[in-house]
Amino acid sequence: MSQRSQVVNLYKTLLHLGKDYPSGYEYFRVRLHNAFMKNKDVTDPEKIKKLIGHGEYIVKEIEALYMLKKYRTLKRRYYNNN
């Protein structure tokens, strides 16, 4: 996969994740867009690779955040007696 399509895929994945973001999709989308635009002039393939790696790390973090939020909410609702 070319680096360009890797970046596009990463952006799409993050946008998809943003739909469930606690502060709202719009909040997430603006920040996501800014984060990508900040690095739009990066041309060094090594650097781009690093940035994609960072993006993938963020994907993992957001998934973990959602899971934890759901788990904690359910635990509070159904298991609050101990």
Partner: protein, 254 residues
């Protein structure tokens, strides 16, 4: 190898604030975000993990409800389920659909599809019935392993750790069996975008309760749905004497 049936229910998303309809006959569902019942996600995840460990050959997800229920079947397919069955129940019939009906539907499908395991979430976060797994086991006359927090699958039997009041209970039961998933069983995976796309190619069969020969005539009538009582506002008192008077008025001290 074993075949697994998982039950998935479409419920109002856990993060949404529930509002009661003005006529007190139900809750507002129009334009409200729905998603898969979190306990059913845990059930799906467990089935998918069994498949990844090559203990299971095929996973079927079934959901009873209106057309939109197909969305949660899609989510299950994206998580790794092989095929879906949508039992269409809509409108007033869906409002009075009870675990007794769902369990008969699940039992019928379990027999038709010749499955060896039925895994469902222990309860749905909308009606909190916590009955479907138990009733399904009863209808099928299979053993039940409810509130599972750990499942080890052998060839002919299961060892299941159950969450009971104040501790854990480990039981052994024969296969076929019905399992209900508790919160600590596993951490469900997130359905990724590429997997959601791939899931669109997986088959979903549509059936009606009538096709299955299950009577879903209502057993109950909803009389009224009420909000839980709101906490009353507190007051700030100027001194101890006023506090004592207030407490006496309220009958909290003699």
């Amino acid at each position: 190898m074993a075949r697994v049936l998982v039950g998935v229910k479409r419920v109002i998303d856990y993060a949404v604030k529930i509002r009661v309809k003005p006529d007190k006959k139900g809750v507002v569902t129009d334009g409200v975000k729905h998603s898969m019942n979190p306990f059913d996600e845990i059930a799906v995840e467990e089935a998918v993990r069994m498949k990844e460990k090559k203990l299971v050959s095929e996973i079927i997800a079934v959901s009873c409800g209106p057309v939109q229920s197909q969305e949660v079947i899609r989510t299950a397919l994206a998580m790794g389920v092989d095929k879906g069955i949508h039992v269409e129940v809509s409108g007033p019939e869906y409002e009075t659909l009870q675990p007794i009906h769902v369990s008969k539907i699940l039992a019928k499908i379990a027999q038709n599809e010749k499955v060896d395991l039925v895994i469902v979430g222990k309860q749905a976060i909308d009606d909190d019935s916590n009955q479907t797994a138990q009733m399904t086991a009863a209808v099928l006359d299979w053993p039940q392993a409810t509130f599972a927090s750990k499942i080890e699958k052998g060839d002919k039997e299961l060892t299941v750790t159950r969450e009971v009041d104040g501790g854990l209970e480990t039981i052994k039961c024969k296969i076929p069996a019905v399992i209900s998933a508790d919160l600590r069983l596993n951490e469900p995976r997130y359905a990724t975008l590429p997997n959601i796309m791939k899931a669109k190619k997986k088959p979903i069969t549509k059936v009606t309760p009538k096709d299955l020969g299950v009577d879903i005539s209502p057993r109950i009538e909803i009389l009224s749905v009420e909000d839980p009582p709101v906490r009353q506002a507190g007051v700030i008192l100027p001194d101890v004497d006023a506090l004592v008077t207030k407490l006496k008025e309220g009958g909290h001290v003699p």
